[in-house]
């Protein structure tokens, strides 16, 4: 095989990494280089330094250490049976690329993942070495996210957490049956236990030590995971149930949903079509309802015929249309929990309504100034001088407020 240049490797190994949805660089807490005189900082929310034409934020240098892999997961471009070009970075190349990009303000840091070569521990050792060299040799204080290999040893995970801001283990697919079918060598039970261990380790290290009373550094940005959506026939209700379980069981910061994307040299086991982007978007909205809007997983899709989120309207509006007896709500009196149920009102708008109504009674146009668009909100609220009358129960309400269906732009 011809020797590849760093640039050729970068093309192969970033192409190989792009199907991973996670790009967040937040949650690492505050850190800068003022004292160390080094390079790098993290300040709560991460920064998106660029956007690709797929609309996704480019925050981190997201690459694989290698795309050689002993696993044969049919949805993955790097599976062992794929004919994709293979490459392997040296530790030195990754460190140099990260620093070169960071110093020019292209990125917030590094998201390093890898195919598994030879053994999980050998691969994990090299990934940890990249992080160690960045932190210690380069005095790098930017963001580091390491994709953890579930089978890697406990000592390596411990070291990874010492240098990285976030660790993640992918559950791959929403159900164990799906994993068994499409990723036959992966062990869902090992993935669960690894996430459990990671949670225990993060909690253990978050406690101040008895001796020094300080907290040891261990993945301050917590752990996250990703599942692929649309590679098998799992319903949205089942997917959300898995998410609720993952959030509750392993204290995840985020569950990422990645619409299954066709890949070059695809396996015949998979649907060959455009990725279900709108479905992915609705899943994120539903995930938000569970995490920030006080919805139980079960009620989001309760009463739907097929356990699927509607693609045409957002899940909160769909819920409200199915539960019209709960509306209209009086924006001058309803408590926060109820206000959060009103379609078209985000958490920020609700905060502002609560704040503003302490000093004045809200009219419809006041509410209009506090939210994005009053059209969706109007039929579900009562305000000073405004009552929706029969509109809340109108048979054609859905048609009146749902956006007109658009064709071709959104692929199912």
């Amino acid at each position: 095989m011809a020797v590849l240049s760093t640039r050729e490797k970068l093309a192969i190994l970033s192409d190989a990494a792009k199907y991973d949805a996670s790009c967040a660089s937040s949650g690492a807490g505050g850190r800068d280089s003022l004292k160390s005189g080094g390079i790098g900082s993290t300040e709560g929310m991460g920064i998106c330094h660029s956007y690709a034409p797929d609309g996704r934020c480019i925050s981190l240098l997201k690459i694989l250490l290698t795309n050689f892999c002993i696993y044969d997961c049919s949805y993955c471009i790097n599976r062992s049976s794929s004919n994709v070009r293979r490459a392997r970075f040296t530790v030195d190349e990754v460190v140099r690329l990260t620093m070169d990009f960071y110093k020019r303000n292209y990125i917030e840091g590094l998201f390093l993942s890898s195919g598994v070569i030879r053994s999980p521990d050998e691969t994990m050792t090299e990934m940890v070495e990249v992080a160690r060299r960045l932190r210690l040799d380069e005095k790098f204080a930017g963001y580091i996210h390491l994709k953890t290999i579930p089978e890697a040893s406990a000592e390596l995970i411990e070291k990874a957490g010492l240098y990285a801001d976030r660790l993640s283990i992918n559950v791959e697919l929403p159900t164990d049956e799906g994993v068994k079918r499409l990723a036959p060598e992966k062990r869902p039970e090992t993935i669960r236990v690894s996430m459990a261990k990671l949670r225990s380790k993060i909690e253990e290290k978050a406690e101040p030590t008895l001796r020094t009373k300080t907290r040891e550094r261990f993945a301050p940005g917590g752990q996250s995971t990703q599942m692929i959506v649309g590679a098998d026939a799992t319903s949205d209700a089942r997917i959300l149930k898995t998410s609720a379980r993952l959030y509750g069981s392993y204290q995840l910061r985020r569950v990422y949903y990645s619409a299954f994307s066709p890949i070059p040299d695809a396996s015949s086991a998979l649907p060959l079509r455009k990725p279900p982007l709108m479905r992915e978007h609705r899943l994120y909205q539903a995930d938000w309802l569970m995490r920030f809007y006080g919805f139980e997983q079960g009620e989001i899709l309760d009463g739907t015929p097929d356990g699927m989120l509607e693609l045409e309207i957002d899940p909160k509006l769909a819920w409200a249309l199915r539960n019209r007896a709960s509306f209209p709500l009086d924006v001058n009196r309803a408590d926060k929990e109820r206000l959060l149920r009103i379609p078209g009102l985000g958490t920020r708008a609700v905060e502002r309504i609560l704040e503003t109504r302490r000093f004045k009674r809200l009219r419809l146009d006041d509410v209009g100034r506090l939210c994005q668009s009053i059209t969706k909100v109007r039929p579900f609220i009562v305000a000073d001088g405004w009552s929706p009358g029969a509109a809340t129960d109108a048979a054609r309400l859905r048609e009146a407020i749902a956006p007109k269906p658009r064709q071709l732009e959104l692929f199912r």
């Binding site: 970068l10 080094g38 390079i39 690709a52 005095k139 695809a266 079509r273 982007l277 569970m290």
Partner: protein
């Protein structure tokens, strides 16, 4: 009209020293407002010579919140020429409407918030889209960027770059000013032009390679990209010139990915499969002859649906020769994570009570009636749910085998679920605790509470009393074993 205002109504022209002269605005605002000069009687300008302003009226205090002052300083950086007038009007109105800023639906407040947001966004975008170019090497190494913000935010945005690039010598040039950091001090200077910044950097080819490769043509969402990275920024982003061709080629690239027929597996695939994934013999659930073998089998248990939500099977553990076996209800949150029984809060009580009663945990065997954690997720927590009769029944299969292998002298049922599983009949623990019941197969079952019961008692005295009763029960158990 009787009575004259302290000063006759007159138009004032205020000339501030610069576009972000917040101190100048503050001083003028103090002088004018304490002299009752109305907002509509003031004109605000940047630069030039202005009117002599009246001295602040002594004894008249200007009361505004710290929050307003801090946010007004941000709004001062906005490029809107009416920003100073708006700030004065807000200041004026707050004298009679002290809660004004909290009325988010007020048009002045909305505009204030919108301007603040716009400045913050511009600052954020500057943090994101500044692109340094390197010149020189070694000690001469410098990083220089050219940037064109919408508002006067250089001073506001510069400290971020100091915190982040402390170890670099860098400069950011903008049309209205420049900032330079020499690893020790931040110096602000005059505006510059694009030609003052380096024209290229060799890392940009790498960055463009990355930008083109990380893009997934099957997910084209141009509007989403432009919402966050408006075209006005593109001319100073080295990667942006790739965007048009990436967009125009996306559809064809995506179609090609889909249209391309699946190919034969790669040449090395068979070798990898043979080396790393030799076909596993399916392990039939044969009779296990040791607890370890049983534990191995139970790790794959699908006898009831509880496995699908739990992390792992939590099997019994302890001495293989134990004569005393404790049976609890089911693993909890911590047990589920660690894969071991009685390691959570109830387990801690259990261990302490065993110690007080003089029983070594390592000498006994501890297990549960149900070996997967049953729970309801509630946000970031898991709420324990009681296993139902079907689940207890399904899991009895394992418990029975554990007991067959161990042949204990005595079993202790901790709580009703354990008792129900061991005796195959409902048991009222509070009434029957302390009793020993002989099963048909001759095994003796001692009944007591589950230690989690103590945790659920709110009143500390009652909890202590219950704990003492539990210790007494376990002491009885020890005496039975000794006897």
């Amino acid at each position: 009209m009787t009575g004259q205002p302290a000063f006759p109504l007159a138009a004032y022209a205020v000339h501030l020293a610069g576009p972000t002269d917040f101190d100048g605005w503050r001083d003028a605002a103090r002088r004018l407002s304490t002299n009752e000069v109305k907002p509509e009687d003031i004109e605000w300008h940047v630069g030039g010579e202005g009117d002599e302003l009246p001295a602040p009226t002594p004894g008249v205090e200007l009361r505004v919140s710290r929050d307003f002052i801090e946010r007004a300083a941000i709004v001062t950086c906005h490029s809107d020429s009416e920003r100073f007038a708006l700030l004065y009007r807000l200041l004026w109105r707050q004298r009679s409407e002290p809660h004004l800023l909290r009325i988010a639906s007020d048009p002045d407040v909305r505009r204030f918030e919108a301007m603040e947001k716009s400045v913050r966004r511009d600052e954020h975008k500057m943090h994101a889209f500044v692109r340094f170019r390197k010149i020189g090497d070694g000690d001469e190494e410098r990083f220089v960027a050219w940037f064109e913000p919408d508002h006067f935010i250089l001073e506001l945005a510069a400290p971020f770059f100091v915190r982040r690039f402390t170890g670099m010598h860098w400069a950011i040039l903008t049309p209205h000013g420049s900032a330079e950091w020499d690893r020790e001090r931040l110096a602000l200077g005059p505006g510059a032009s694009k030609d003052d910044a380096p024209a290229a950097d060799q890392s940009e080819e790498m960055w463009r390679t990355y930008f083109a490769s990380i893009f997934n043509p099957a997910r084209l969402k141009v509007k989403a990209m432009q919402a966050e990275m408006p075209k006005k920024y593109w001319r100073n982003l080295p990667e942006a010139s790739l965007i048009p061709e990436l967009i125009s080629g996306a559809d064809a690239a995506a179609r090609e990915m889909i249209a391309r027929m699946p190919t034969m597996p790669a040449a090395h695939h068979q070798a990898i499969q043979a080396r790393h994934w030799p076909a596993l013999e399916p392990s039939p659930e044969t009779e296990a002859h040791s607890i370890d073998a049983l534990r191995q089998q139970a790790s794959q248990c699908r006898r009831c649906p509880l496995w699908s939500e739990a992390t792992q099977t939590v099997f019994g553990e302890g001495s293989d020769n134990a004569e005393l076996v404790f049976v609890g209800e089911q693993p909890g949150d911590q047990e589920d994570l660690q894969g071991r029984p009685f390691v959570g809060p109830a387990g801690k009580i259990f261990d302490a009570v065993l110690g007080e009663a003089g029983i070594e945990r390592t000498a006994v065997y501890v297990t549960n009636a149900v070996k997967h954690f049953k729970f309801e997720p509630r946000g970031k927590r898991r709420i324990h749910s009681k296993p139902n009769a079907g689940e207890v029944q399904a899991c009895r299969w394992w418990l029975a085998q554990e007991l067959t292998l161990l042949k204990p002298k005595l079993m202790v049922a901790l709580g009703a679920t354990a008792a129900q599983s061991l005796l195959e009949a409902p048991v009222a623990i509070t009434k029957q605790r302390g009793q020993t019941i002989k099963r048909d197969d001759g095994l003796a079952v001692f009944l007591t509470i589950h230690p989690s019961y103590i945790l659920r008692i709110r009143d500390p005295q009652e909890a202590a009393a219950e704990r003492a009763r539990f210790v007494a029960d376990i002491r009885t158990v020890r005496e039975m074993m000794a006897g």
